[in-house]
């Protein structure tokens, strides 16, 4: 009943799968997001002109505070603005933000999101 060959093959398959998953994790750009590049992009795109000092005091209450917001949400929001009206099912439609994000690459957006999450601000998660 005991089949050493089969057991070996199973071990090899499991090891192979584990390595593949590990490689995926390493190649995930989120892990490599650079908050310092994000800071440079936030400054060059003048985000504080609307979102305020430290991205925590927007100039009008219609604009969101960003400091400390989850980076994965900020990244998704930036991607949605980039889709804009060209994707009526997922895009976010805002003329200012659409113009702001047009030239950003995926990794730029991840860097900006990482920088925003690193900032201390008013945002809290409460029930």
């Amino acid at each position: 009943m005991y089949k050493p060959d089969q057991a070996l093959r199973t071990i090899a398959m499991v090891a192979g799968a584990a390595m593949a998953i590990g490689a995926l994790a390493v190649s995930n750009p989120a892990a490599a997001a650079s908050a310092s590049n994000g800071k440079a992009l936030v400054e060059s795109h003048n985000c504080a002109a609307c979102h305020g000092p430290n991205l925590n005091k927007p100039v009008t209450p219609e604009y969101p505070k960003l400091a400390g917001q989850h980076s994965s949400y900020v990244y998704w929001a930036l991607k949605q603005y980039q889709m804009g009206t060209s994707n009526p099912k997922l895009g976010r439609n805002n003329a200012i933000m659409q113009a702001q994000v047009q030239s950003l690459s995926q990794s730029d957006m991840k860097d900006i999101a990482a920088y925003i999450e690193s900032l201390d601000g008013d945002l809290v998660q409460k029930k």
């Binding site: 505070k65 949400y73 949605q80 809290v124 029930k127």
Partner: protein, 122 residues
């Protein structure tokens, strides 16, 4: 007497203008954070769980709402209700809210700070 009346007319006009500017969507609706305590059960199911993530159409942590500007939150809920912002769950929930509910919920989250207690009703 005249200057007394005049001052009050000016004050009233300024207050009306300020109210209109702050809340162009519904000038006569004022959010009541306390009234929202019983209205946020559906919000808490996702936004009240630390690090809660949604999986479609992309895996991301749902946004933190506490301390956010009330006007931004109200606009977001109106956007989801109308279909200008896209997320099926938020569309379904926002569609069940009245303008007053939206104003109350926006005021509720805007008022939260790091020292706010969690909702005693939830």
């Amino acid at each position: 007497m005249n200057s007394f009346v005049g001052k009050h007319v000016v004050t009233a006009a300024l207050a009306a203008l300020a109210g209109f500017a702050l809340n162009a969507q519904a000038a006569d609706i004022v959010g009541n954070a306390k009234a929202a305590q019983g209205k946020v059960a559906m919000c808490i199911g996702c936004h009240g769980i630390a690090d809660y993530r949604t999986a479609y159409p992309e895996v991301y942590k749902v946004p933190m709402l506490g301390g956010q500007n009330a006007q931004y939150l109200a606009n977001a809920l109106h956007g989801y209700k109308k279909g200008d912002r896209h997320f099926d769950t938020m569309h379904a929930i926002a569609s069940s809210l009245t303008d007053q509910d939206i104003a109350d919920i926006a005021a509720y989250y805007a008022a939260q700070t790091a020292s706010s207690p969690n909702n005693p009703e939830k």
